[in-house]
């Protein structure tokens, strides 16, 4: 892919995430979206970069904080917003909400609100792909809290011993809710530990979507070359509160100054600046307007859509 095109795609993904979440923030107080929101804002480089490195048929799984990967993988907003508003037209007909996004046709298998739970699911999907020899890559996104859980270690170990094509994407914001990693991790460096496994390890603090993209490509390449999983650590700063749509710098567990530092390398702005190399300001604005309109249109349709009928409660329990 040409650099120009690539960077436009990356910006479209990053901007879409930022824009969609801004829209959620704008309307959340109206109480129409009755679902707990865990915002991706600040982490757009990871979702955009990794998903750009994946092909349409490749698969991803995430957490309750997965607006970003849903939008980056699907570029779809109708079913997305409908799910936020709890409507019948939502990805899960309103049954899942913000924390349970699926998009099977786009390769998003599932996301989950129990920490760590999609990690082994990704390993199983990777096994299925290997058996079916379909060449699909599975990437699973999880946080620095998830590695506290035993299931991370079981899954990592199993994937390594079974030599499965799975990409572990460690989204490191240094916090689990309000507890910093130092208070939860009995070690200095997770990547030094994972290096001891039969696993390719990559790590970066970049907020540049293109840098993430390149690292993800490397990680996938190593996975295929060495026939073993890859582990990709990517640091980022969570701009908003753990759950909810507000800032929380006044609650005492972290400092606005830290935010300001990260804000200087904001992934969306950074990517926008880079576009200047190939696009005029007008062209960039046009790209943004298209996305703005997409988001606004989707929200309007979501708002106007019907809720599922009461009997839908009883449907989809069993096949």
């Amino acid at each position: 892919m040409k650099e120009k095109e690539l960077n436009r795609y990356l910006y479209q993904k990053a901007y879409l995430i930022r824009r969609a979440e801004a829209a959620i923030r704008a309307d959340y107080a109206s109480d129409k979206m009755k679902t707990p929101m865990h915002m991706s804002t600040g982490g757009e480089a990871i979702a955009a970069g990794v998903c750009q490195a994946l092909r349409p048929q490749d698969q991803i799984l995430g957490t309750y904080r997965s607006h970003g990967i849903y939008l980056a993988k699907t570029s779809e907003t109708d079913a997305f917003f409908a799910e936020m508003y709890g409507k019948a037209t939502g990805v899960a007909k309103g049954k899942g909400g913000s924390m349970h996004l699926t998009a099977v046709d786009h390769g998003l298998i599932c996301t989950s609100a129990i920490v760590g739970t999609t990690i082994p699911v990704a390993v199983g999907a990777a096994y299925a792909n290997k058996m079916q020899k379909n060449g699909k890559v599975v990437a699973v996104f999880f946080g620095d809290g998830a590695v506290d859980e035993g299931v991370f270690w079981e899954s990592l170990n199993s994937a390594c011993v079974m030599k499965l094509p799975v990409l572990f994407v460690y989204e490191d914001n240094g916090l689990a809710v309000h507890v910093p990693a130092e208070q939860r991790h009995g070690y200095k460096s997770i990547i030094e530990i994972v290096r001891q496994f039969n696993c390719n390890v990559f790590s970066s603090e970049t907020t540049d979507p293109e840098a993430v993209y390149n690292l993800a490509l490397q990680a996938i390449g190593a996975m295929n070359k060495y026939q073993q999983p890859s582990f990709l650590r990517l640091a980022y700063y969570r701009y908003l509160e753990h759950v909810g749509t507000n800032e929380d710098f006044n609650s005492g567990y972290r400092d606005r100054a830290e935010f300001e530092r990260w804000r200087k390398a904001d992934p969306v702005e950074l990517q926008r600046k880079k576009l200047g190399k190939w696009f005029s300001e007008g062209e960039i604005t046009a790209i943004e307007r298209t996305i703005d309109e997409q988001v606004e249109g989707s929200i309007k349709r979501a708002d106007e859509a019907q809720f599922s009928q009461p009997q839908a409660l009883y449907e989809d329990v069993l096949a």
């Binding site: 959340y28 109480d31 009755k34 679902t35 707990p36 929101m37 709890g86 409507k87 939502g90 899960a92 007909k93 309103g94 049954k95 899942g96 909400g97 924390m99 349970h100 989950s112 609100a113 129990i114 920490v115 760590g116 809290g145 998830a146 506290d148 859980e149 035993g150 689990a176 809710v177 309000h178 507890v179 208070q183 939860r184 991790h185 009995g186 759950v243 909810g244 749509t245 609650s251 005492g252 567990y253 809720f307 599922s308 009461p310 839908a312 409660l313 009883y314 329990v317």
Partner: protein, 347 residues
């Protein structure tokens, strides 16, 4: 001396007083010591007792459950807190294979004084991974005590009793109850862990309720009282050991029984209550027992579906009317205040 306080404050006071009384008591769990302090139920404990006795842990429910067992055997009295009972699913191996069996497996050589506080209840469209109750699961296992207090007074007295008890106690708290206010004694008097209680008297029908369903049942009873229907509400409080006698006594008077359990019905605690009442009241019941619980589905997110999923005072009123063959009460002027508003968004 009693004062008015919330269920949340009552839990807090129980822990604080017991920690003052007994240096072996400590509180731990994911996020218990952060600034939100488990919906403020552990407020002030870090300040008064230090981070050694009130601390947040790594996200490791399995290990942290076993950790409590080890600390208990080695002389402490841990209180393990789960923000959601659903997270306790990660600790069930320790709970069932280890904690529930260790006293037995040592021939009674040691005890396991440990409290596991687990929060349940509706939130804000939190859907199927943050909405379970599971009291029938815990109660099914010999070696565990299981309680679900529904008033501030019981919250305090039963938590005090649970902390002093030499057995593992699963203490289940519905978050909508947190803002319920009631009389609570200043002293740390224990309330027994094996007693049901009549919380609203009535002579026409018995509603046996657990946890939040007591609030709904009392509301239903108050509305029906206005048309002269006497609903007796029995708060089960203790799921295991289960005080069936209080319930049986009530049903033998009213001859009608509805079980309103804050859970699914299939193989749930409501089945145990029904089977027990039927057995004791053979030939005395005027109608089959009605079991009210969650819809037999995972909990959905969207509000209209969620409203269908959860039973409430109206479901109870309609069930009472059907059982007593009464016409439907006009509820259009009733005010069904929802405590949910206190837990408004995002979680």
């Amino acid at each position: 001396m009693s004062r008015l306080m919330s269920y949340r404050e009552a839990l807090n006071e129980a822990m604080a007083q017991e920690m003052r009384r007994d240096p072996r008591v400590f509180v731990y769990g994911i996020d218990v010591a952060d600034h939100k302090r488990t919906f403020m139920s552990s407020k002030g404990l870090v300040e008064e007792f230090g981070l050694d006795r009130c601390f947040s842990t790594p996200l490791a429910e399995d290990a942290m459950t076993g950790f409590g067992l080890g600390a208990a055997i080695a002389g402490m009295r841990p209180i393990h807190v789960h923000m959601r009972v659903d997270f306790l699913l990660l600790g069930l191996n320790q709970l069932v294979n280890m904690i529930a069996t260790q006293r037995y497996g040592s021939g009674g050589r040691f005890a396991v004084p440990m409290v596991i506080r687990a929060i349940i209840g509706r939130g804000w469209g939190q859907s199927f991974q943050h909405s379970k109750t599971l009291q029938s699961w815990f109660a099914h296992i010999p070696g565990l005590k299981v309680v679900m207090p529904s008033t501030p007074r019981d919250a305090k007295g039963m938590l005090v009793a649970a902390i002093r008890d030499d057995n593992p106690v699963i203490f289940i708290e519905h978050r909508w109850l947190y803002d319920v206010v009631g009389e609570v004694p200043e002293h740390s008097d224990e309330i027994r862990l094996d007693g049901a209680k009549v919380i609203h008297p009535g002579s026409d029908i018995t509603v046996v309720a657990t946890s939040w369903m007591n609030v709904e049942a009392v509301k239903a009873a108050e509305i029906l009282k206005k048309r002269g229907v006497g609903v007796e509400v029995v708060d089960v409080r203790s799921i295991s050991p289960f005080d069936c006698q209080t319930i049986i006594d009530s049903v033998q008077r009213t001859r009608h029984c509805i079980v309103a359990d804050n859970d699914w019905t299939h193989c749930g605690f409501s089945a145990e209550v029904a089977a027990t009442v039927y057995e004791a009241c053979m030939g005395q019941l005027r109608a089959p027992i009605r079991r009210i619980g969650f819809a037999p589905t995972p909990c959905p997110c969207a509000r209209p579906l969620e409203n269908e999923f959860y039973p409430n005072a109206v479901s109870i009123i309609r069930a009472v009317e059907a059982m007593l063959k009464l016409s439907e009460t006009d509820l259009s002027h009733e005010d069904f205040y929802s405590y949910e508003n206190k837990f408004k968004g995002p979680f």
